[in-house]
């Protein structure tokens, strides 16, 4: 649990972060989003004291961060950044074991933990443990970065545009993996990005920042449905908001039970997004889709009218 209470950061005469208050609950994935220079990275880096805040208070689990030694504080938090920051002169295994080694874990436990994490992140131990960072692709390097951040099993993860330098396909894969990972690990995550699609896809709580201030925060759907002002609205994609919202809602939310009518020929998975369903309709010129479960068995149907949110019965 992280609390920022009226936090301000000034660099000389300029104010980078201006009196923000923010509370991230245990197990919540909080995404700070905004244009570059809006203060989102500064905010993140104040939490692990890579930057010291000028005013206000920052607490983790109810304790002021200044009560800890800097190093002790940081070893309690995972940290992943865009450039991965992997040590080029260390092997993958040694990179991942960094924080456990700083915490003086016994060798055997470090090795065990490193292998566990490599498996968790889809990096076969025999293939990757002894490789050096420059022998990895961008996506692999970033997986190692995330594994390293998770190494000492911290409650808190700080991620500064970790997927920013990756190609769109790799980025999307890693976003999905992070969501799946978060579903199992329930870390408290603060994630900084300037990519709104990434923010919407990942966030439990979305925080829009501009010029050092928080413009609006809440669940992504709340922001999409009721943007506080024109800036938030334009950042969320303006006219595109409908599609972005549809991307966040699963088909199961709008489907109706199977009717006695003939099954529609085109199918859609129950956990696909409404946006995917709409795309299938557009592509196949179909007004009705059969919703199927994981075993590909029909469990409901979705009409275009339902999809767009018209009232159930006319």
């Amino acid at each position: 649990m992280i609390d920022l209470i009226h936090v301000t950061k000034r660099f000389g005469a300029t104010t980078a972060v201006d009196d923000i208050s923010l509370s991230v609950a245990q197990g919540e994935l909080c995404v700070l989003v905004g244009t570059s220079g809006c203060g989102k990275s500064t905010t993140l880096r104040m939490i692990n004291r890579l930057i010291e805040h000028s005013d206000g208070e920052i607490h983790i689990d109810g304790q002021q961060i200044r009560a800890f030694r800097e190093e002790t504080l940081r070893r309690r938090m995972g940290y992943a950044i865009q450039s991965t920051g992997l040590f080029p002169h260390w092997t993958v295994a040694r990179n991942i074991g960094l924080v456990p080694r700083l915490l003086k874990w016994p060798q055997a436990r470090i090795r065990e933990r490193v292998e566990e994490l490599m498996t968790l992140l889809g990096l076969p131990v025999s293939e990757f443990a002894d490789k050096y960072p420059r022998q990895l692709s961008g996506g692999q390097a970033q997986r190692v970065g995330v594994a390293r951040a998770l190494a000492a099993d911290p409650d808190i993860l700080l991620m500064d545009e970790p997927f920013g330098a990756l190609d769109p396909i790799t980025r999307e894969t890693l976003q999905e993996e992070l969501r799946a990972l978060q579903g199992r690990l329930h870390k408290t995550i603060v994630f900084v990005t300037h990519d709104m699609d990434e923010a919407l896809r990942l966030a439990d709580r979305l925080v829009v920042m501009d010029q050092g201030r928080i413009k609006q925060q809440g669940h992504p759907l709340e922001l999409l449905r009721e943007p506080a002002d024109a800036f938030v609205e334009s950042l969320l994609g303006g006219e595109d908001r409908g599609l972005k919202e549809a991307a966040l809602l699963p088909v199961s939310e709008r489907m109706l039970p199977l009717s006695p009518r003939l099954l529609a020929r085109e199918r859609v998975a129950h956990d696909a997004s409404l946006r995917e369903a709409l795309s299938i309709m557009l592509w196949r010129h179909a007004e009705r889709l059969t919703v199927v479960d994981d075993e590909d068995l029909p469990i409901g149907e979705l009409s275009l009218r339902r999809l767009v949110g018209a009232k159930a019965h006319e």
Partner: protein, 388 residues
Amino acid sequence: MPEETPRPNIVLWSLLLAALPAWLGLDAVSVAPNRIVPGSGHSAAEVAGLPGLVASLVPALAVLWLAWRPTRERLRLALGLVVAMLAALPAWLALAAAELVDPALPQARMGIGGGVWVGLFLLLLALIELRTRLTLSRPLGWALLLVPLASLALCLSLWLEPLALRREYAGRSQQFLAAIGEHLLLVGSAVGLSLVIGVGLALAMRRWPRARELGFAVLNFLQTIPSLALFGLLLAPLAWLSARVDWLAALGVSGIGWAPALLALVGYSLLPMVRNTYVALEEVDPGVVDAARGMGMSRGQVFRQVRLPLALPVILEGIRITSVQAIGLTAVAALIGAGGLGTFIFQGLGQAAMDLVLLGALPILVMALAADALLGALTDLLRPGGAT
């Protein structure tokens, strides 16, 4: 043939086409009855006669033929031929000595002429070219040189007694070893001292950015003073100091000798050392340092485990430049009585005995090349991520 026919190797052609006229036209050796009179030159043809000359041309022409269509196998063959030619050169000199030097004259000597020097130089260049083309590893490249070196050592000990260079050495073998010792000691202490001072200065410059500009200005200025002038400039203040401070005088500090030489050498060594160390530490990827700190490494841990190991190859590069430069400069220090191999060079110049100059200059060349190669290999070894 599966691979495309490669284009002729221009480098090998140019090298060999330059070597052939030098070998045929210039004096290969010169022979003198004693140290005083100038020697009379002899061309390669005079030494071995026409059949011998033709025999010596065959491998060179073969390399030309191989370099016309340089596939890998042909280049390997050419490499073998070049190494063989290099190894044959000392034997050929031994043959020339047996042929031309009158054994009845104990002082008679044979000097190495332009033809052999040019041939040697161009063959070494050809060896480097072939090593690069065949992408041989550095150690293998050096191992190849062992064959000609072994041949040289063998011929020197058995048959090349009349070689002028060896005659000069024979008269000074004790001095020669002492000079090499002095030379290495001066270079070693200058590089060692400038490493300690240089790293200290670089660290200070990182901490106080304002000291940086002043520091580099002073070091740049030092570098612009000609070495002879610097030795001269140090003479008066050091003489003054040793006259007034007893323990300095007891240490052997005076206006001439090792003290001013060492001071000047350290002065010259500081710029490359500080520059490389500073740049190396400064240019470590900021992302890596940010991650290291963000993971909870202390400042000391970041420096020792991240910044320093990543900077080490560039720092070693600085040591390499400094060492090679100091090996050369130390030769000049002989002028102010610091000893070392430069002594032979200046004696030789004074007596117009070129072979004595060579006796001083050749070991300096070898030392510089060896320092370059050793430190270069060490740098490769320490590159981040180990050997690829």
